[in-house]
Subunit: 314 residues, 2 copies
């Protein structure tokens, strides 16, 4: 039995995961990222113990604990080197866990963990597999021959930071025109807001006012009802997403690409035009093209992936 | 002893290569790509025999023959599936060679072979190594853990076809705004021509008229003499090259990137500003950054890489 932990900016999600990647029990608690690192880890450890206890297990049945964290982690030394929205800086998270657990602790970047989780459950044993997550940013993970590819220094696979429109929208990384600045959920929300300002008569505005928020669904919901401005937003957004995937496909020629994040719940409405676009511009027109699908695990991918990555290191 | 063959659109270059990657003897002959595939291969075989003969060797001393070809190759079946400027289509090149040689034949894509050659000679044994070639297009090769990375179907690593400015200049692949359309030598020549038209007073014009051609050196030569329009061309071109490398670095976090192609002979005048740009926008600001250097083998990379790849398959 394994424990998978997904440390997010908003929530800490923890699951008890069997050796095949199935979640048997899970729970979550708010991260409250403005607290000290020690306080966050205290809550994390307490929740892990609770999940184990709730499953009527004793801690010695846990063979490994996997932790997915945003930012840069150093699994060798068991430290979180840096995270953007949570106050970790060279934090010895493995040592903290070892005060309470005998099982080996394994650290992964959260996007890599989530990609690995999708690969385990939905990867068709692909030789090359890529997961793209359209969330606050554009995250990703690359699995090559069953292993998470991280580059030579462990912090690769930052696929959101390939160029899309050099000189365009300023990205959080400082560069102008990263893929992430056009294809993330955040970017879609901005694109929707701009369209609402330009076209206040659009159904997007009505939908946004009803729910008193513009979110990643606003434009999709209005587009499905035939709203012209919304259709424009959605078509353009899908082109942004797909053009980046073309680049990823041209580099990796993966057997499978899965697209995750809240927007992926749009299913074939999102995926079908992406497939069409990618097929058209894929440099490979001779061999079997990459399968492109919506991710299946949604928010559970991080838990499953962290646990299964930990298993691999046992 | 190995034979490395670099089949190019213009020349067939063949070398006798020792087991460490050193070329002991080499020769070349024009490809004359408008001929039939059979005629081209006849010349290729004859030249390979000549190179061996010139070195006073007998054919049975050859342990392996590596062939780098443009386009898509199928090493398993020994066929060139498709090349763009040479008339190969599902051509059984290995079988043709086997009529004359007993040694195993190994096929590689030419860009992959060249990258592998650079890796062997100049790769510092890097866990992740990327070669970028600024030529007619932008080619590349990725070496991971000592192996050429080709994606799941063998035709990956087409790094020239990541987006740079989506919707921009139309690329040969059909997509608008590929990195290749801005960062290849062809693109630089176009950028130089446009600048000359806009600024006929520029030193670029004088240089071009003297040599009666605009080439990849025109803007660099004028820029080094302080010509303002040329400096603008060169600065912008370097930004195009560097921004694509940022994307590659963010994905691969390689230990080393080498930049090849004729333009790489500009040396530090090209490489230093690329390093500065890439360091600035590299998503990795915590760990050792990628070394970025000019390639060392120039036109010999394909010969060396094809031969050494063949050796790996012995």
């Amino acid at each position: 039995m394994l424990v998978g932990i997904d440390l997010g900016g908003t929530n800490i999600a923890i699951g008890l995961v069997d050796e095949k990647g199935k979640i048997l029990k899970q729970d979550s608690t708010p991260t409250l990222g403005k607290r000290s690192a020690d306080e966050i880890i205290d809550d994390m450890i307490a929740l892990a113990e609770k999940v184990i206890y709730d499953a009527n297990l004793s801690k010695d049945k846990i063979k490994g604990i996997g932790i997915g964290c945003p930012g840069a982690v150093d699994n060798k030394n068991g430290t979180i080197i840096f995270t953007e929205n949570i106050p970790f800086s060279n934090y010895p998270i493995s040592d903290r866990f070892k005060e309470y657990f005998d099982a080996p602790i394994h650290l992964e970047n959260d996007a890599n963990a989530a990609a690995y989780g999708e690969y385990i459950v939905n990867g068709d044993n692909a030789g090359v597999f890529v997961a793209v997550t359209l969330g606050t940013g554009v995250g990703g993970g690359i699995i090559i021959d069953g292993k998470i590819f991280k580059g030579s220094n462990g912090v690769g696979a930052e696929i959101g930071h390939i160029p899309l429109i050099l000189g365009g929208i300023e990205c959080g990384c400082g560069q102008k025109g990263c893929w992430e600045s056009y294809a993330s959920a955040t970017a879609l929300i901005n694109q929707t807001k701009i369209a609402i300002t330009k076209h206040p008569e659009s159904l997007m505005n009505t939908i946004a006012q009803k729910s008193s928020v513009v979110n990643g669904r606003t434009a999709f919901d209005a587009a499905k009802q035939g709203d012209k401005s919304a259709l424009e937003v959605v078509e353009k957004y899908i082109e942004y997403v797909a053009a980046g995937i073309v680049g990823i496909v041209n580099i990796f020629q993966p057997e499978k690409v899965v697209i995750g994040g809240g927007i992926s719940k749009e299913g074939s409405y999102l995926i079908d035009p992406i497939i069409k676009f990618v097929r058209k511009y894929d440099y490979n027109q001779f061999f079997e093209p990459a399968k492109i699908e919506a991710a299946k695990l949604y928010n559970d991918a991080g838990i499953v992936g962290a646990a299964m990555a930990a298993k691999n290191f046992l």
